[in-house]
């Protein structure tokens, strides 16, 4: 998996993910990237999932772990551009209600200021 971080209005960190978030390939990388942002004091994080091709239960577990660690530090973690199959995987485990999910980057970034 490839990751890149860019900063948007209001200091929101947008994490663009590309590739797989599966066991042994991307799952730990996601956690480490989020932990680094949190350690740097960057607590408003938007994960852009548009180019995520595959996710499994391990990847879902890491997403949940990232959500918890950011929230526990007083931050917010939200999701952008969920591919349909990833949305389905979050829906069947009732996690879709846990995450704030956006289809528009502008709306997502603005929501952190609300």
């Amino acid at each position: 998996m490839k990751t890149s971080v860019r900063e948007a209005k209001g200091g929101v960190q947008i994490l663009d993910l590309k590739g797989k978030i599966t066991i042994g390939s991307g799952d730990v990388q996601l956690r480490e990237t989020i932990n680094k942002l949190v350690e740097e004091g960057k607590k408003n994080i938007l994960i852009n999932m548009a180019d995520v091709t595959t996710i499994d239960s391990s990847g879902i577990g890491e997403l949940v772990g990232c959500y918890t660690s950011v929230t526990n530090k007083g931050g917010k973690l939200k999701l952008l551009h969920l591919p349909p199959k990833i949305s389905d995987v979050l829906t069947v485990t009732q996690l879709i209600t846990v995450f704030d999910v956006y289809e528009s980057e502008g709306e997502a970034v603005a929501s952190f200021a609300a």
């Binding site: 066991i23 042994g24 959500y67 199959k85 009732q94």
Partner: protein, 155 residues
């Protein structure tokens, strides 16, 4: 009339894999080959491969504890239009009834414990049995529809 084994050109497939996550995609690729000839919606095919991924990851991580000396045994075949996949590890076994319900509010934010749930969600039948001599076998079954046949049952 359907033949007892619809895809004789490909199946059955029997593999013995080392306990490495990198092997999951190879097994998924071969499962995909086995499914060729079935007019499966892309989504249904995707969920079958995800269930296989979860079963193999479970065997590698929890069954064999990623011990390279231990193998994961995979048998795949299509019999009477039903895909059957057997995944056996060489670990110490576990009690599937002891796995917590990932939908329970107290488990919703746990970072693990969803693999078996996904297998049960995406397949028609999922069964577990301890193997004589050690290890656990997971059997996954999914009814397939032959090309030209009408689908009688939802995904």
């Amino acid at each position: 009339m359907s033949s007892p084994r619809a895809n004789r050109e490909t199946g059955p497939i029997r593999m013995s894999l080392s306990s490495r996550f990198e092997n999951i995609e190879m097994a998924q690729h071969l499962c995909g080959k086995l499914l060729e000839g079935y007019d499966l919606p892309e989504e249904k095919r995707h969920w079958i491969l995800m269930a296989l991924r979860e079963a193999l990851a479970n065997a590698i991580k929890h069954g064999n504890s990623q011990d390279q000396a231990k193998r994961v045994h995979l048998d795949m075949d299509v019999i009477d239009d039903t895909l059957q996949m057997r995944i056996r590890d060489e670990g110490n076994g576990f009690d599937p009834s002891g796995v917590a319900d990932p939908l329970a509010p107290e488990n919703r934010l746990k970072t693990s414990g969803r693999g078996i749930f996904y297998m049960r969600t995406f397949m028609d039948e999922v069964s577990f049995r301890p193997v004589d001599g050690g290890g656990m076998e997971i059997v996954l079954k999914k009814h397939l529809i032959r090309e030209g046949q009408k689908e009688e049952k939802g995904p």
